[in-house]
Symmetry: C2
Subunit: 222 residues, 2 copies
DNA sequence: AGTTTGCGATACGGCCCCGTCTCGTATCGA
DNA sequence: TCGATACGAGACGGGGCCGTATCGCAAACT
């Protein structure tokens, strides 16, 4: 009721929220319940339940929580799912130091590991599917996940071009796509593609840097 | 018409289907009704109705058709939508002759055009997007559309390796992903990436074949 | 002719879900 | 201690859709 900015609000992280206007008089909300709800949604998805098949009642049952406990926090299913997706994508892809090639391998390796985490893999795929006509979800996802990641890799690529490690005659966007496309393909689009080879990132970056074309003479292409 | 092999059957194209076993004795099925159903679904989607929000009753109403007329042709909503989506998909990539490199460019160019069409045709875009969180639908789509396409590119790549045009030391799957990943990224995952450059396919294949790394460097990798 | 099947329409029982509300209980601030 | 608010559980009316089964009529075949 009242205050408690209902739902689609704050990022789940940070924000200790001093609540200046609302001392909240009665029993405080259970952090455990909130956690159980998030966990239940993730568990359901992990079990192969599609976003479409989720419902408030089903989530409440899975979480061992009353429906009212959910409605107290979110106005409807969509708002809840927005928060769920946002939460999943929180971890920062940060990596630093080393050669450009190492940074690229690190980036791809990060994507691989995330893909291996079945939970986030499944949700990622689902969320991406819904992005096309679920504006709110799409906005959150693009803003919190896609944009930073694209910016990060663009930074690495720019450095690579500056240092002469990467070809300067190609469009920078194209280079980014060529580098990141294969691993995204494997983690998001193709369910059955294996991700367990720990050398995968290195191999991919190698293939893309050196090219998949056979060297006309001995060692290298151009 | 023909037998009512109920639904998930034939590809919508071709197949005059002589129907050897069933002369169909009574009134034949109305081709017009079938067309009205397809048209109604597309119209609904064009109006922004999500795949998820479609229902037999809604489609029947929009098509001006009885529910039974739909159930006579498809066993359930899912089967109907599978046919709708399959109908929307562009004709098979189909390309032949020429060098391996040309074939690869042709393949990527096909994907590019398809991406352009997808954007202009709201329906296809929306359908494909939402497909990804409807497991059953997704499976059929994979089987009918994605798998043949993957097989096609695998064939080209195998030929490239045989002819010595492509590196033989890489996993064939990896080569496929590196080749097709970038264009898929642009067409499916990044809605805002430009697709209008007619040279895009050539550039992409060039980048992947020759590598994005600046020439020699220390012979890293293996 | 008579038979058989398809047609649009609509009624039916059943299921699942929504969002609200009410229980009895638990846990906070004052 | 008391009032306020939270909790799990679930009842409740309402709604949408499913898939089947009828209507009465239309259009083909034998």
């Amino acid at each position: 009721m009242q205050t408690d900015t209902p739902a689609v609000r704050r990022a789940p992280a940070a924000v200790p929220a001093p609540e200046p206007c609302a001392p909240r008089r009665g029993r405080p909300r259970s952090e455990a319940a909130e956690q159980a709800i998030y966990t239940a949604v993730e568990a359901l998805m992990e079990d192969g339940v599609g976003l479409t098949d989720l419902s408030i009642e089903r989530i409440a049952a899975a979480a061992g929580v009353g429906k009212a406990t959910i409605y107290r926090r979110w106005p409807n299913l969509e708002a809840l799912l927005v928060d769920v997706v946002a939460r999943l994508e929180a971890p920062p892809p940060q990596l630093c130091g080393g050669s450009v090639q190492d940074e690229l391998v690190g980036m791809v390796e990060y994507m691989r590991r995330r893909g291996l985490a079945k939970r986030s893999r499944w949700v990622l795929k689902s969320a991406l599917g819904q992005l096309h006509d679920w504006p709110e979800l799409r906005a959150v996802y693009q803003e919190r996940v896609v944009k930073p990641r694209r910016e990060l890799i663009r930074t690495i690529v720019r450095r690579g071009i500056d240092e002469g490690v990467l070809r300067a005659d190609l469009d920078i966007e194209l280079v980014c796509e060529v580098l990141i496309g294969p691993i995204l393909l494997r983690t998001i689009l193709w369910d059955d593609a294996p991700l367990d080879d720990p050398e995968l990132a290195r191999k991919m970056v190698d293939a893309v840097l050196n090219g998949v074309g056979a060297a006309p003479a001995g060692g290298q292409s151009h």
